[in-house]
């Protein structure tokens, strides 16, 4: 069995390539948060407390559009509902752990750490294998906090004319690149996008993100079912 430190370091090493895209993402978040009117301290607090890039940008987007707090909080929950899946998948590797470790690991269960550590957890049966997830998660944490901080500082120096807010749809587009090749995903993307665009002004309380997301998920449910019955 490898030492805890070695497994932790392996987690850091494995997740590192996935950190490259997090850098511009964190910078954009920091810049935009100041732009839509959060104080530097609140912006930093958001990255520390929420620690979820996509949902933090959704928060900013809805906040600047004047959405109510309830709508913002439920949209953040909807964006992060994918973590339910991550938790369910890794839980079998963590079932023997003390509650305190489960509490700590949950904070670090983010997209990149999940993607990379799930592979390691599947292949490894050592008792301390969860240190891999802690190492990967802690690496993301350091990158996310430091790029948020840099974004806050840079924010004042970046001219508005550059239209950096366009980086938001681009970032989300980039997160979907692997889904563009799959038929069901493409349909779900188009359905959700159209509902959000045409419903933007008509769906009350700026709840368009939730309505579009749910419509997309219903489309996914129907399509996956249809394909199964045809097989």
């Amino acid at each position: 069995m490898k030492s805890n430190l070695k497994v932790f370091l392996k987690g850091i090493l494995d997740v590192s390539p996935l950190m490259i895209p997090v850098v511009p993402f964190g910078l954009i978040f920091g810049v935009l948060a100041i732009d839509v009117g959060f104080s530097p301290l609140e912006t930093m607090g958001m990255s520390l407390i929420v620690f979820g890039g996509a949902s933090q940008i959704v928060l900013l987007q809805l906040f600047s559009g004047g959405a109510s707090s309830l709508v913002i909080i439920s949209s953040v929950g909807a964006v992060n509902s994918r973590h339910l899946l991550y938790g369910a998948v890794v839980s079998e590797h963590l079932s023997d752990l003390k509650l305190i470790w489960k509490i700590i690991i949950s904070y670090f269960l983010i997209d990149q750490a999940y993607a990379i550590s799930n592979e390691y957890l599947k292949k490894n049966k050592d008792h301390n294998r969860y240190f891999h997830l802690v190492g990967a998660g802690a690496t993301c944490w350091v990158i996310w906090q430091s790029t948020t901080f840099l974004g806050i500082i840079l924010g004042a120096a970046i001219p508005e004319k550059l239209g950096l807010s366009f980086a938001v749809p681009l970032t989300f587009l980039a997160l979907l690149v692997n889904d563009f090749r799959k038929f069901i995903n493409v349909i779900v993307i188009i359905v959700s996008g159209l509902v959000a665009t045409f419903g933007y002004n008509y769906i009350p309380f700026k709840a368009y993100a939730i309505v579009a997301g749910l419509t997309g998920l219903i489309a996914a449910m129907i399509l996956t079912k249809m394909i199964k019955t045809n097989e």
Partner: protein, 104 residues
């Protein structure tokens, strides 16, 4: 609601999505069907941010003509499909956008 309360509630709900499955719920409660549908969450929800940010102007009305964002997003999507790189997608989109608004 103050900004801080908003941030804390968003943090709480996010933490719960991570913690609940690890600590509270047994794995058996999560069948393959639910897993499959949850795997579509990014495809279902991210377009709700992408599309309005591209197709709507500042006042919220649909803008198709003379909208550089559409062309730039198409270029970014194509680069993304072929490169499968997050960085290449973001930067090709920004570069085309700047080219279209500052040069063309």
């Amino acid at each position: 609601m103050s900004n801080w309360a908003l941030i804390i509630y968003c943090g709480l709900i996010t933490y719960l999505t991570r913690f609940s499955m690890i600590a509270l719920i047994k794995k058996e409660m999560f069948n393959d069907r639910i897993r499959e549908v949850l795997s579509y969450v990014p495809s279902a929800i991210f377009p709700a941010i992408i599309f309005p940010a591209i197709f709507l102007d500042n006042s919220g009305s649909i803008l198709i003509e003379d909208n550089s964002k559409i062309m730039a997003a198409l270029i970014a999507a194509l680069i993304g499909i072929f490169s499968r790189s997050i960085i290449a997608t973001i930067f090709s989109g920004l570069a085309s956008y700047w080219f279209l608004i500052f040069v063309v």
